[in-house]
Symmetry: C2
Subunit: 428 residues, 2 copies
């Protein structure tokens, strides 16, 4: 039986999960894969802190990652350090030393894709299933199961923190700030939550999804990205009345007009599967030419769900070594794809003075910008202590730039009392 040796660098939450599975399930993995996958060493600066998986043997402990990455008796390097500095050095040196690399580091892969994918070849020496949607095998399914398909569109709920917050706001009718605080106390949100709630983490994942699904790479900084910090409970409630939930979506469309990638909150119709994805769960919805529509759903984070994906990558890497195959193609990636102009329907909520003529002013500006209104809802519930009322519009399909222009004009009207809330409607 072939034997493959693994070095794990980074003994944090995920690293400890991977180590535990490799130690506990060595026999099971051997039976299922036909390969003996041996944990050779674990690298971290500190082994004294309790990781909740018991002590690991002294002779497995290593403090210098450089020794691991250059060690001739290690076949697979698992990078779970996080960040984009040391992790970058680890991944690049390991690849250059001929190691197979497994990583869960979406920030690193998406920000340094040009550099990394020039030496790292997916399915050959670079595996990163855990970088997108945790336990859900989106990388494998796109690369292998859907190999005969052109993927037309993808819609992902790829950040569990945001989805948890939005689900909770609606379920408990609470405002954003309060739910964020609760989420932080429960460990579902970081103390510095910006990476999640500002949509940046979703943009990292979308950058990688585009690379996989469309073979087209866009740097995360160049993906139009909105987070969920401006969403108010009232929007979730109005959306609900109209038959929609609100989700933070990572959207990708590969059209004849070009590539359209974006991250933003969106109304998703209740009839659609994605609107049923609640709490910390993730999901990826794909529209393909042969297989039709598909959705993959599961846990996008957490120690063991993520470790499950890392270990499946280790096994896939071990199979490559065991079979000494070299027949797989390097993925063709377009690093400068053409970008599309986006148009969609919009939900807009204005906070306006309760006075005649307001709707006429607003609809006038929209009309001049070629945006037509599909429906209007003006309720009578004026907010206590103010003379303002919410005015909800649903538009027909409109170009994004026209919409932006119209909204900024409207925002300057003296009858408009707060920054308008604009949410895209996703028609799947």
């Amino acid at each position: 039986m072939k034997r493959v040796s693994v070095g794990v660098i980074g003994f944090g939450t995920i690293g400890a999960g991977v180590v535990k599975i490799l130690l506990k399930k060595r026999g099971l993995l051997k039976k299922r894969s036909g390969i003996d996958i041996r944990l050779a060493r674990v690298c971290d600066r500190d082994f004294s802190r309790d990781r909740g998986i018991g002590k690991i043997p002294r002779d497995l402990q290593e403090k210098d990652w450089k020794r691991l990455v250059s060690s001739p008796d290690i076949d697979i390097i698992v990078e779970l350090v996080g960040g984009v500095t040391i992790a970058r050095d680890i991944v690049l040196s390991a690849l250059k030393n001929g190691k197979i690399v497994v990583t869960a580091n979406k920030a690193l892969l998406s920000e340094y894709a040009r550099e990394i994918f020039s030496v790292g070849i997916p399915e050959v020496n670079l595996f990163f299933e855990a970088a997108i949607c945790g336990a859900i095998p989106v990388v494998k399914d796109i690369q292998e199961a859907l190999i005969a398909n052109k993927i037309r569109s993808l819609y992902g709920i790829v950040n569990g923190t945001c989805n948890y917050i939005l689900s909770k706001m609606f379920a408990d009718t609470l405002e954003f700030d309060l739910v964020l605080k609760q989420a932080q106390e429960l460990g579902y949100a970081e103390k510095q939550p910006g990476l999640d709630i500002d949509g940046i983490d979703s943009a990292h994942k979308l950058s990688l999804l585009s690379l996989l699904a469309f073979g087209k790479y866009v740097h995360p900084d160049d993906i139009p990205t909105e987070g969920i910090t401006n969403l108010e409970l009232i929007d979730l409630l109005f959306a609900d009345e109209m038959g929609y939930s609100i989700k933070l979506l990572a959207v990708g469309n590969d059209t004849r007009q070009g590539l359209d990638l974006r991250v933003h909150p969106a109304l998703v119709p209740y009839e659609h599967m994605l609107s049923s994805v609640e709490g910390v769960f993730n999901a990826l919805y794909l529209q393909t030419d042969e297989a039709g529509d598909m959705m993959f759903y599961g846990r996008g984070a957490g120690r063991f769900p993520t470790a499950s994906a890392v270990v499946s990558d280790i096994v896939d890497g071990a199979k490559v070594i065991a079979s000494s195959e070299g027949a797989r193609a390097k993925q063709v990636i377009d690093f400068s794809p053409r970008l599309a102009q986006v148009s969609c329907r919009y939900y807009v909520r204005f906070t306006v003075v309760d006075r005649p003529g307001v709707l006429a002013k607003i609809s006038g500006i929209l009309g001049r910008n070629k945006i037509s209104i599909a429906s209007v809802q003006q309720t009578e519930r004026a907010r206590a202590g103010t003379n303002t009322v919410p005015l909800i519009l649903i538009t027909h399909e409109a170009l994004e730039e026209k919409m932006k222009k119209a909204i900024s004009e409207i925002a300057r009207l003296d009858v408009v009392k707060k920054e308008p809330v604009v949410i895209r409607i996703v028609d799947l």
Copy 2:
């Protein structure tokens, strides 16, 4: 570049889809896999009938499957003949001749598993992604992505015909017979619909899912199987009132008490993802030890969705050939696993005479069988022209055999006018 030659046997709906993709996307597959996958020949008794994909070249046509299966210049045999007679000969001879076999034939694999899996090894020389849930990569995901997991339970909506009928009954408030007729006219149900609506097709798939997920095989005839023919609209409506949809489920639980496999209609709570699976779509919900809960959703049938899965199998088979790997383990299958006693909550609808004392009689019989009642609902809507009313009970968890005994006793009461309707409640 490596070249691999494919022979497709069976030029029906799926076969023609596979042929079309292999011809049309040869370049794409080459680019993505690094292997040139050549359609060498197509076998059928008749090539005159139009398959809707244009003419295929004369030199690709073959009428004798035996010639294909023994041809030294063919590496992969794709069996899409269907049935369990000729298909069995094709699959077994091809495997014995050292070919890699790809098939979508769930009836064959599940009924002749002992014989076929003694020579056919999943992921090595036998691929059958399309046999379960069509385009959805459930085989790959269980075998590869979840390799580090023990799968505890699975809940599948694996028959699109049944799911379509149930969705349609509820959406249009129509009775079973009428919807079945419509489904037959639309091509969603066969003229002889028994295989689908009696749950047999679901049992075939469940037999294979058990083999994959638990490594335990049960012949489909030995899986307790109920179809949807006894479901009435009223049940869907009552279930809805209580917050449930009704789905035909393939259920598998691998417990310490033994293996529990069954196919039956079930109430699924609206909060659960599976209850959102509508129409002809399929889904598989898994509960695992490391990765947590997951669901895979997509098209379970149809020419191109099924062909998409067949082609991904062809590519995986081609990779095996191209890499000349032999390191993969033969799957360990327990052919005589221990079976579990099943207990669950039940929804029961009795059609009873509208007379005092009826509930006392029924609850007395249930009590003597150790079945306790969680809730009772007796409406006043007596059916026109009768003096009967529906009486709905929800039980607490009860053993299946006790339940059967109690129901048959109750059915013999003179106040009970129709066969009771018994539906399991799935508490996920």
